[in-house]
């Protein structure tokens, strides 16, 4: 085997500097690492997407046209911007991860984006179906000091009877098509007339958290034009309990809301009963 001077010098340099070859496993591990980054990023992106879905389905954006004059401001306050950012960040990581794999560069960035968006959305929809979005949102709400949960933002939007938005829990359903609603935001009861209102397919029932679109009447009367469950995907027991516990807002007041729900309702009913009886006397 004849060698030029240059190749001899290379071989000598390798020997003199004891330059060693990287193991085959180093490359296998490196490639595997990028696949892992890709997989984890898709997983997190999917979780982010499940919360986006949850936020959209809970926010009733179709009602926003009735929110004049502040509908744009309200719309932005309810958009899950944090989760859009979260989703985009992990989408970036997943594209970077798969692009850095051994053959990842052969696919165009647009195709990689498409594959990753599709994977995250498909997996995110599954997570949402199993309640993953709601759970993650709640974890962030409870543990992340910088994050304000959707529920709190919803309450802020819906606690404005002067602008025709009211939310609370049904205390009583009366035969004259009026409801007795306790609005814990303002700590007062409202008589809600719903004769002409569009109401959800689901039957109204005592204890149900609702949001009401309408018009404020005299004193404590509210004329409803539309009634919807407060957070429709939380209408199971778990969701209601959660809704009620933090109904009035911030975490620092949580002790106040540790009160038993039934006890509170019973107390209010009996006080109402006493008030009515005193009227008859």
């Amino acid at each position: 085997m004849t060698k030029t001077k240059f190749s001899d010098s290379i071989l000598e340099k390798i020997k003199a500097q004891e330059v060693t070859q990287k193991s085959r496993w180093y490359f296998v591990f490196k490639n595997g690492l990028f696949w892992t980054i890709f997989s984890i990023a898709v997983l997190f992106g999917a979780l982010g997407f499940s919360v986006i879905l949850f936020s959209f389905f809970e926010s009733d954006f179709d009602l926003f046209s009735f929110f004049n004059p502040h509908h744009q401001q309200i719309f932005w306050s309810l958009l899950p911007l944090f989760w859009f950012g979260f989703f985009t960040l992990f989408l970036g990581f997943s594209v970077w991860g798969i692009h850095a794999t051994r053959k990842g560069y052969k696919l165009s960035i647009l195709l990689l984006l498409g594959i990753n968006i599709f994977s995250s959305m498909a997996l995110g929809s599954v997570f949402y179906g199993f309640g993953g979005g709601e759970k993650l949102e709640r974890i962030f709400d409870e543990r992340a000091p910088f994050y304000e949960g959707l529920e709190h933002r919803m309450k802020r939007v819906w606690q404005n009877p002067d602008q025709g938005r009211l939310a609370g829990e049904i205390l009583e359903i009366r035969s004259d098509e009026t409801l007795l609603v306790f609005n814990s935001f303002q700590g007062k009861q409202w008589i809600v007339q719903y004769r002409d209102a569009r109401i959800p397919k689901r039957e109204l029932r005592v204890g149900m958290p609702i949001k009401i679109l309408g018009k404020r009447g005299q004193n404590d009367l509210f004329l409803a034009s539309e009634i919807r469950p407060f957070m429709p995907r939380r209408m199971d027991g778990r969701g209601m309990r959660n809704t009620e516990r933090s109904f009035e807002g911030r975490k620092e007041n949580q002790n106040h809301f540790e009160l038993d729900r039934r006890k509170l309702r019973d107390e209010m009913r009996s006080s109402l009963f006493r008030k009515e009886r005193s009227l008859y006397k």
């Binding site: 085997m1 030029t4 190749s7 290379i10 070859q21 990287k22 051994r102 165009s108």
Partner: protein
């Protein structure tokens, strides 16, 4: 003596059988003549992992190709190119087990060469280094079938002009033109070297040809590629 008899007998009609006879008879004296066909790059890589001497063969195969490539892409001096070339082969040696055969070995080694050269070139220019372009007509010769060059220019003048145009072009365009027209690479090979999708490479090549013509116009040279759209 043996060779003489072999050469003499080549003129006879029974050359094939004689060749076979002589090679079999004296194969010990001419070990390389029996290695037919020569080892492919991929086979040499496998053998180099086990025996370093085979790596020398790989170095021999790519030494000049890569040196020319370095000179074309960077306009480093010949001495500087040799230094970079050494670093390239050391890196190739270190990463040899990472070569899986998924791409051609030439693409793989050019990828390392490209990264090392660009990195060295950027380091040099970021330190304020100013490259004086050395004329090397040999490395910038293009086959007449690839480029329209006015007849009045001789090879040396043409090479000088091509070099000037390439140096004045954006790096991303210069590199794809060098790969396609000087290194004779296909889109797939360029894609493997630059780690870019083939569609992107095709787009880059088209834009690079346009950029080449515009740069040449700006420098008052009148030539373009034959296959330019």
């Amino acid at each position: 003596m043996i060779f003489e008899s072999l050469v003499v007998r080549q003129s006879s009609n029974s050359i094939h059988s004689l060749y076979t006879f002589e090679f079999e008879l004296f194969s010990d004296s001419f070990p390389l003549m029996t290695q037919n066909p020569p080892l492919t790059d991929e086979q040499l890589v496998q053998k180099s992992i086990e025996n370093m001497d085979f790596f020398g063969e790989l170095v021999d195969r790519y030494e000049m190709k890569l040196k020319y490539y370095i000179l074309r892409i960077s306009s480093f001096s010949s001495h500087e190119a040799d230094e970079i070339l050494q670093e390239i082969f050391l890196k190739v040696w270190q990463n040899l087990q990472g070569y899986t055969g998924a791409v051609k070995f030439s693409s793989w080694i050019y990828r390392i060469a490209h990264n090392e050269t660009i990195s060295a070139y950027r380091k040099y220019t970021s330190r304020g280094g100013d490259k004086t372009v050395e004329l090397n007509e040999e490395i910038f010769e293009l086959a007449p079938s690839k480029i329209n060059i006015p007849a009045e220019f001789n090879a040396k003048e043409s090479a000088h002009m091509i070099q000037q145009v390439l140096q004045a072009m954006p790096e991303k365009y210069r590199e794809v033109l060098i790969f396609q027209y000087f290194e004779d690479m296909s889109y797939e090979e360029i894609s493997d070297v630059l780690k870019k999708p083939m569609g992107t490479v095709a787009t880059l090549v088209n834009r690079a040809k346009k950029s080449f013509r515009e740069t040449a116009d700006r420098l008052s040279f009148q030539f373009s590629f034959h296959d330019e759209n």
